[in-house]
Amino acid sequence: MSRFYIPTLVFLLLVIEGTLFQLVTPYQHDIGVTIVPRFIVVMLVLIGIHFGRYSSIIYGLVLGLVYDIVYTQLLGVYMFGFGFIGYAFAYTYKLVQDSLLLHLLFVALAVSIFEYYQFGLYRLIGITDLSAIHFFNERFLPGLVLNIAFATLVYIPVKKLFQYVGKQASLRQR
């Protein structure tokens, strides 16, 4: 049973990004900034830190594919991006696992890399013509603040859940 907890949680976050979150955020021409939730990137970093590279890559690829199909017109952008985040942010050291600050640092790095990767790609294929300075002020900074806040908020509950799931998995193996 416990092995389904994390996939369900991450899938629900994917759904919430597109439904509930869109209902509660104010809009661009009201507040002058666009807030983009990257909850899945946050979760990928946490999974990578606690369960290792193999799990986070699989989660990244599968969630990226679902994200591409459900929310975007282009296939592959999120799949590659999430897969890369899963690969690059899997530091399963005890030092990292115990420190909130290092968690947040990695989340910030992952979100920044993902945002700039997507912005660069969309500029390249002409989906957006937003200038880099506007992107930085109106999208990147607010999004970064939101996602770090989200990571801080879920840090303790998610850690508890991960520990519980990890314990159950090791019990099963015995």
């Binding site: 509930l20 869109q22 809009y27 661009q28 975007t72 592959g76 989906i127 957006t128």
Partner: protein, 291 residues
């Protein structure tokens, strides 16, 4: 961590970049029909999204009702003042309708460009990354939805068109999406209607931009803009918005009008999908061509 990219990993990275480019290239072309597995995933996720959104709309609707009650008294005063006007207009309207029907009978016209069928649907999702403006609806090809049907919101303002359809859900491209192929043939309602295209969206001001209007046209603020029915996608007479200001375009050959949309693109919950029932070409004309 021994080395970030060993030889084998480098090859995997390069191969996945090639796959990325290939997949973007494949999906970049304007696909109206999505493949089977994509449809299944969209429908499955759409089902879960419906579970999330419907109760949320119910809660939001409750708070909106409470807010409405506060404004009731003032609204009532304004409405009472306009009641006389209404009686006058309704008489005029019935007269005009009768006249229109008689004229149509005389001409033996059975269908016009503004015949359409409406189906209601619920907005279940919106693209979270906001680079593109797409929303998802809970009706699909199972309910008779097809690509290129127009969509209006509950206030009657046009919001966009159906872009992709799967079995039980569909994706709508909003008018505010900044895609070059996203355009609507529109007209400004006055004695001598002026035609143009809705192309592009000014995101900071929240205004639609109507281009290619005749330079000679005298357009005033507050005039209503509707679909013209000439693009072959939307029926005519769907409300788009109101002219806010007019300025000459960058080459000085035509005019651009900025339009305040009737529909609120950001507070969509229940919408209607418009199916155009009139055929695009008169069958008699087609017969003439073949004979």
């Amino acid at each position: 961590m021994p080395s970030f990219f060993s030889n084998k990993k480098l090859i995997i990275l390069l191969v996945s970049i090639i796959i990325l480019v290939a997949m973007i290239g494949y999906s970049r072309s304007d696909r109206e029909q999505v493949t089977g597995p994509e449809q299944v995933i969209r429908d499955a996720v759409g089902w879960v999204q419906t579970i999330f959104t419907k109760p949320a709309y119910a809660v939001a609707g409750f708070f909106e009702n409470v807010r409405d009650i506060q404004h009731m008294y003032e609204e009532n005063k304004v409405l009472k003042a306009r009641l006389d006007e209404y009686a006058q207009i309704s008489v005029e309207r019935s007269l005009l309708r009768n006249e229109n029907n008689t004229l149509k009978d005389m001409l033996e016209l059975e269908e016009s460009l503004n015949d359409y069928l409406m189906r209601s649907a619920v907005v279940i999702q919106r693209s979270p990354d906001r680079w593109t403006e797409y929303i998802g609806l809970n009706k699909g090809s199972d309910d008779g939805i097809e690509p290129n049907m127009g969509v209006i919101d509950s206030k009657g303002g046009l919001i966009g068109k159906v872009k992709q359809v799967s079995e039980f859900s569909s994706r709508i491209q909003l008018l505010s999406d900044n895609d070059r192929t996203n355009r609507v043939s529109a007209m400004i309602a006055m004695d001598q209607p002026e035609y143009g295209f809705i192309e592009g969206y000014d995101e900071d001001a929240g205004l639609l931009i109507m281009r290619k209007i005749d330079f000679e046209a005298e357009i005033e603020e507050g005039q209503m803009v509707t679909t013209s029915g000439k693009g072959g996608v939307y029926p005519s007479g769907l409300l788009i918005g109101e002219v806010v200001r007019v300025e000459p375009d960058e080459y000085g050959l035509t005019q651009n009008a900025f339009i305040e949309p009737t529909a609120d693109f950001y507070a969509l919950d229940y919408v209607y999908i418009i199916e155009r029932t009139s055929t695009t070409l008169d069958p008699e004309l087609l017969e003439e061509e073949t004979s």
